[in-house]
């Protein structure tokens, strides 16, 4: 919980990782390039006081994660969103066993989401069923830009992807977080094209699709889809830190999201360990849309509370203390289904 000026905020960090990018875990040069790219994000967009030495950035471990997120970071609950990247890292990038063990130790604080890659075909589908049971999965993180053999990416509307999404729906894995990256094949299309999200959102209305980085660098395409698909949500991973380096740009992103989506479909994420939640939460609570940006309405305390935690808590059925709720709470999934029926 975070308190400021007599207001109390329930904080849910919807996108965190426990990764291992140390040299001994890097399979090849791309493993180094990948973490170096993250480290450049970290150095470029965060305040200097929050910049870590490179060595610290490669691996944090559970103890440091708990301190950064919960002890120092005001977060009430956080959700692991792992990227496997087996083509880049020997023992994967996201550390499944370590993260799951930590989530079992702190079930009130942590939810473990797992990941899948439809290119593993039947074997992967079987594995998904086992994983859903073992991890009690409510959600998954899909990273369509992963390399696999000769393939350097996949699309959500691929045939095998549909089979995995059908299984997810059957298994109650309702919350599908998607990282859109430079997926390939064919290469001559827009690599960040979100048209495949549009298709699956239409075909799988029982699932929620959270587009991480709110479609950046294609904010407009994402907004256009999200306007038409009520089960498409915006994850603010990587968009959040602009609040420090480019506050006016951040205001524009939030302003556009509120206009095209609504206040119930935007979720706060630190994207730990690229950034820590503490400064992001502090800055967001203090943040106001600049007065001269007359095209956007003010960002109210109620809306901030929803974005910082209530929206994701409703999606994951995580109980929020009554005194931290708002007068007009985000609809819970069940309520919404009833309303539709």
């Amino acid at each position: 919980m975070y308190s400021k000026d007599g207001e109390n905020y329930y904080i849910l960090d919807a996108h965190i990782a426990l990764w291992d990018a140390r040299a001994e875990n890097q399979r090849n040069i791309h493993g180094k390039q990948f973490i170096d790219c993250f480290y450049d994000y970290h150095r470029n967009l965060g305040p200097e006081s929050e910049t870590w030495p490179y060595e610290d950035f490669l691996y944090q471990g559970g103890e440091r994660l708990m301190k950064d997120i919960f002890t120092d970071g005001y977060v009430d609950h956080a959700i692991f969103q792992p990227a496997a990247l087996p083509a880049f890292y020997r023992n994967n990038f996201g550390q499944t066993e370590e993260a799951f063990a930590l989530a079992q130790k702190h079930p009130d604080k942590l939810t473990y989401n797992h990941c899948w890659d439809p290119r593993f075909g039947e074997d992967g589908l079987k594995q998904l069923r086992e994983d859903a049971k073992r991890f009690n999965l409510k959600g998954a993180k899909l990273y369509t830009a992963e390399w696999f053999g000769d393939s350097r990416g996949w699309k959500l509307d691929d045939k095998w992807s549909y089979r995995y999404l059908e299984a997810a729906q059957e298994l109650g894995i309702k919350n599908i977080h998607i990282h859109k990256g430079p997926t390939i094949r064919p290469l001559d299309r827009d690599a960040f094209d979100v048209a495949d999200v549009d298709k699956v959102a239409t075909d799988f209305t029982e699932l929620n699709f959270v587009i991480e980085h709110c479609g950046l660098p294609r904010l407009e395409d994402f907004c256009w889809i999200a306007t038409q698909e009520p089960n498409v949500h915006a994850g603010l991973a990587v968009a959040m830190p602009f609040i420090h380096t480019r506050p006016r740009y951040f205001a524009q992103i939030i302003g556009e999201l509120l206009y095209w989506l609504d206040e119930n479909r935007i979720q706060f994420s630190s994207d730990y360990a690229i950034w820590t939640p503490k400064w992001l939460v502090e800055k967001f609570v203090d943040f106001e849309i600049p007065e001269d940006m007359t095209e956007y309405p003010a960002l109210t305390t109620e809306v901030k509370k929803k974005i910082l935690g209530l929206n994701a808590a409703a999606m994951y059925d995580i109980e929020v203390p009554a005194e931290l709720q708002v007068a007009d709470p985000p609809a819970k999934a069940e309520t919404e289904a009833v309303a539709v029926a």
């Binding site: 390039q33 450049d40 430079p182 064919p186 950046l216 660098p217 480019r246 740009y249 095209e295």
Partner: protein, 247 residues
Amino acid sequence: MPAVEERARAALDEVYDPELDEPITDLGFVRSIEARGSELNVHLRLPTSFCSPNFAYLMASDAKDVLTALPGVERVVVQLDDHHDSDLINRGLAADAGYRGTFGSEAEKDLEELRLTFRRKAHTAAMERALTGLLRADADLAEEQLHDVTLGDLPEGRTTSALLRRRESLGLAVTPEQPVLVDDHGHPYPREEVPVRLRFARSIRISIDGNAHFCRGLLRTRYPDSGSDQAPRPQDPSTSPMEARAS
């Protein structure tokens, strides 16, 4: 005639990052230009190792094309540094293998369609900049009235000339009586659609501007000496002077 390096740099001013809608020279993507006799060696660099390989290829091959066309230049070597596909792209460029020859089964057709998509986005963003500029300058101007604004109504300046350039690149007319707010084919929208079309154009402009600031910043983080190679990005109507300094 100016030195070969100088002419090469001027030629590279015409090579654009399709997504950011800026010359690769202004962005600081040109790492070095070296001439030996009639041979030119140019190194390009990008903000991350994982920048989209199609765009990376597009810029590198456009660079090779404009340099090869320079009088007195007989051999051109363009190399893309530190990209996950550097080897593949550099081999393809050296062999003049073309895009499909370079990427093989990963490519289905050439890149013209992709290029057109981003030209259209650049035009839409330029249109929004011009119209938002008018709205900010005149508090009494209602959004729907933008339906009647023609190119001749726009003030002279960088924003207007940028819009005209984008229209030309799409083959759209640039005569003064042409309406400003048009679709990708130059057709005006119905009056009642103007607010939502302007709104969508704005999200495109915000996206492009945001990507440009992000990529510029990342390049400086990755290559600390690259800041001095970057020209300031022209300001959009909603950017304050303070933020322009910070970018």
